[in-house]
């Protein structure tokens, strides 16, 4: 509780007490007034009864009779009215009042009798009657007076009772208020003095230089607020003192950062100026901001002249559209950078092939501030690639031509050797037969080699456009072709449902035939079990041709896909060593990849990926 609230309560309590006492006093005063009225009426009745007695005596005396009779009647009526106004709550008082009224009701008849008795000069017996009536009236007056006095005493008792109740109520209130005020005052004083002592000690401690001192006065009054303010003050004072040291440290840190920035700037400037790639900083509004020497040399312009040209002026017309498209996306905030191989036109008219890297530097609101463009001159690489392409085409053409053109003389050699063997088998000596046999076998193998080589070369030269191909149908054709091989090997070929892919159907057939054929061929003691499966893959579909054959040592995983590379002798397993090379070439032509998963005697799984149809 706040001190002000406590003080207010301390001040208000006496006021409340005063108000309550005033109300009680008012109620008591009202009761006292009513009782006072009753008491006054009672006393008046007493007086009236006495007056009636006096007047009764006066009536007996002739000089006073008429006047006294008048006064008697007036006074009697006064008493009747006074009695009618009297009210009591207690039954004894009510009984006394009723008795008094009854007595009063009896008086008039006696009084009238007395008047009649005094009207004439009375004989002795009438005097006796008069005296008896006077005595009776006086006696009854006496009773009336006694009853009235009793009523008065009831009033006094009520007054005393009311006053006593009031006195007890006020005394109780004062006692309660005194205890309450005393308790409040003691508690307030105790808390305030303790809080002030703590504040004083805290002030002295802080004055002695201990800025980490906290008063921690957990009260909810003004002194608590003062203590909080004091603690806050010391904290800020301490923070101010601490921040001075921190400011020094910050200044040193900033100086170091600035030095590093300068160093970094120099380093960056060095990279920018002396780098091996061309660099430029441009802005949509300001155009060229910075260009480095390498860029100028790359494009053959001095820096000042270069800055007079636009980006489009320098760009090869055929490459302008994709660059503009990318830059539009960059401006729109859709991308923050892009790579692009594009050609620039040098000042001397020659073409420069470059790999352009563009990155955006943006303002806090996301708008483009400037663009950093890096240009790597790849003219030599482009030239080498062109030459390699040409060389490959020439080589492929050579291989095709060679294999195609070699077939005719080889067919002749083979035909004549076979003719020689048929005609002279057994006619010549044994060596001649053996030699002729070797020649026929060599010619036959050469023919096979040439045919395989032709097949390999045709993968690139006689290919068909990609169309949707149902691999289930391709596999069916393949198995139909391999029906004899399956029968001879005693094996089985199973497959899962296969998807449709976008491919060259003939090459797909070639691919599956080579892989399944190998699986049927390279088996151990047990008959081959081949399973073809396909599963979705991020690149499209992932196919697998899994067998239970002899397996492949991982050391040869790469070698097996190279042309004419064999892992076994012809005696062990027939073949030219070109089948997997053809497979690799077919898969790569379709944008996929091929690999093997295997271990010796654990079987092998040849996997390849193909794009999905559509």
């Amino acid at each position: 509780m706040k001190i002000s609230t406590r003080l207010l309560a301390n001040s208000a309590l006496p006021l409340v007490l005063g108000a309550v006492v005033t109300i009680l006093l008012g109620i008591n005063f009202y009761q006292l007034r009513a009782l006072q009225q009753t008491d006054r009426l009672s006393r008046e009745i007493v007086q009236s009864a006495a007056d009636l007695s006096l007047l009764t005596r006066e009536i007996a005396l002739p000089p006073h009779r008429q006047r006294a009779a008048r006064q008697w009647r007036i006074r009697y009526q006064t008493i009747v009215v006074q009695l009618a106004r009297l009210e009591f709550e207690s039954s004894p008082a009510r009984n006394a009042l009723e008795r008094l009224r009854d007595r009063m009701a009896e008086l008039p008849s006696l009084f009238e009798s007395l008047l009649r008795a005094t009207e004439v000069v009375a004989p002795v017996k009438d005097n006796e009657k008069k005296d008896r009536l006077i005595g009776e009236i006086l006696l009854r007056n006496r009773n009336i007076l006694t009853d009235a006095q009793q009523l008065g005493s009831f009033s006094i008792q009520h007054v005393e009772s009311a006053f006593l109740s009031f006195f007890i109520a006020v005394l109780s209130l004062i006692a309660v208020a005194t205890l309450l005020l005393g308790g409040l005052a003691y508690r307030s004083n105790h808390k305030i003095i303790d809080a002030i002592a703590r504040l004083r000690r805290g002030t002295e401690t802080v004055a002695a230089g201990r800025l980490d001192h906290h008063i921690d006065l957990a009260t909810d009054d003004e002194l608590g607020d003062l203590a909080c303010a004091f603690d806050l003050m010391t904290e800020r004072l301490r923070a101010t003192m601490a921040s001075r040291a921190e400011l020094d440290q910050e200044m040193e840190r900033r100086e170091r950062i600035e030095a590093k920035l300068r160093e970094s700037e120099a380093l960056f400037r060095g990279y920018f100026e002396r780098g091996l790639i061309g660099m430029a900083v441009t802005s949509p509004e300001k155009g060229w901001i910075e260009v480095n020497e390498q860029l100028c040399q790359m494009l053959g312009y001095p820096p000042v002249e270069l800055k007079t040209l636009t980006w489009a002026d320098l760009t090869h017309p055929d490459d302008l559209a994709p660059d503009v498209a990318h830059f539009t996306q960059l401006l729109a905030g859709e991308i923050d950078g892009y790579f692009l191989d594009k050609r620039f036109i040098r000042k001397d008219g020659r073409i420069v092939h470059t790999t352009l890297s563009v990155s955006a530097a943006r303002n806090p609101d996301g708008s483009l501030h400037h663009v950093i463009a890096s240009l790597l001159d790849i003219s030599e690489r482009k030239q080498a690639e062109a030459e390699l392409e040409r060389s490959n085409q020439e080589l492929q053409q050579f291989a095709y031509v060679a294999s195609h053109d070699l077939q005719e003389p080889l067919r002749m050699v083979t035909s004549y050797l076979q003719l020689l063997q048929r005609r002279y088998q057994g006619r010549l000596d044994a060596d001649a037969d053996e030699f002729i046999g070797y020649a026929v076998d060599g010619a036959q193998r050469m023919k096979t080699l040439i045919l395989d080589l032709l097949t390999y070369s045709r993968v690139g030269s006689r290919s068909q456009p990609f169309v949707p191909v149902a691999m289930e149908a391709v596999l069916a054709d393949t198995l139909n072709n391999l029906q004899e091989a399956v029968r001879e090997s005693g094996g089985q070929v199973h497959h899962d449902p296969l998807p449709e892919v976008r491919a060259d159907a003939g090459q797909m057939r070639q691919l599956l035939q080579n892989l399944i054929g190998n699986a049927l061929k390279f088996h151990g003691e047990t008959p081959p079990q081949v399973h073809v499966s396909a599963a979705p893959d991020p690149d499209g579909w992932r196919f697998a041709v899994r067998d239970n054959g002899i397996g492949i040592d991982p050391r040869f995983f790469e070698r097996i896909f190279v042309v004419f590379q064999r892992l076994h002798t012809r005696d062990e397993y027939s073949g030219t060593g070109i089948g997997l090379a053809v497979c690799k070439k077919i898969v790569e032509r379709h944008g996929g990849r091929i690999w093997v998963e295997s271990a010796p005697n654990q079987g092998a799984a040849f996997c390849f990926t193909l794009p999905a149809a559509g």
Binding site: D51, L54, E58, P62, P63, H64, Q66, R67, R70, I74
Partner: protein
Amino acid sequence: MNLHEFSKSRRAAVGGALALLLCAILVGLWWLQATAPPVPIETIRIGLPLQPSSALLIIALERGEFAARGLQPEITEFPSGKRALHEGLLAGKLDLTTCADVPVALAAFEPNAFRIAAVVFEDGNVNRVVADRRKGIRAPADLKGKRIATQRASAVHYFLHAFLIDNELVENDLSLSFLEAEELAPALAAGTIDAFSMREPYISQARRALGDAAVVFAPPMDFAQYELLLVTHPLAMERQARVVRALAALIAAEDFARRQPQEAIALVARRLGVAPDTIAASWAGPRLRVSLRQGVLLQLEHVADWALQQHLTDGEKIPDFLDLLDLAPLVSLAPDRVTVIR
């Protein structure tokens, strides 16, 4: 301005406002008092009997109590209350006077031309019967057969009646004659009468004249004499406020006499032209009190009955003295002073 200064200035402002309010109230009260209409001054014609029973009237006049209450008194002095009643009040020359109960009771047989506003003096120790010892009078019983004079139809006449009854005598037991007041002492000294019934200063005159021969008899124990304040009927009916102010002036005089009896005695003595000792001798006895008691009615009725028996009046029956009392002014002023049963 910080919070402390703000609170300080606010307290100062509140204090200043309260001070201004207090000043305004005081000025307003002063203005109301200063501009209150003055009490109008009204003339009141007062008849002053030159006798000690007029003490309250004398003190009030001497101390300006009437003027202090807006009444400008016009004083007419009379040798006695009876003459003030008849020559002044009943003659229409006065508004107010004092008079003893006997003349009042006798005057009440006539149509009511006055009202009794209060009793201003009550004492039974005023009148005396003075006798000549040389005539063989030593005790009241010795008055039997002697010549006794008094003032007819006066208080001392009624006193003599009461004195005789108290001493078991009646008027027929003696030779009664009537003289003027101033004739009584010389007559006694001259021996033409043997005794008289009278009051001061005639008692003292007789004492001086007779010396040791003078015998002064004490009054009856139960005798009382009232000096009544009378007002004219119109004044009582139509200008009751003046009666109230006159009564207030007399009550103030009563208060002064009780608080400062020596000064009161000096005032009365100076006005009556007698030595203060003379007044002081009987000062303790008189009850100078403004009241209206039931006993006044009895006294007046007794006097009226006596007057009828003595044929001192032409009336045939006792007047209704209750109607003659003007109770309202004194009841409004001091109800506890009124014990008349009403």
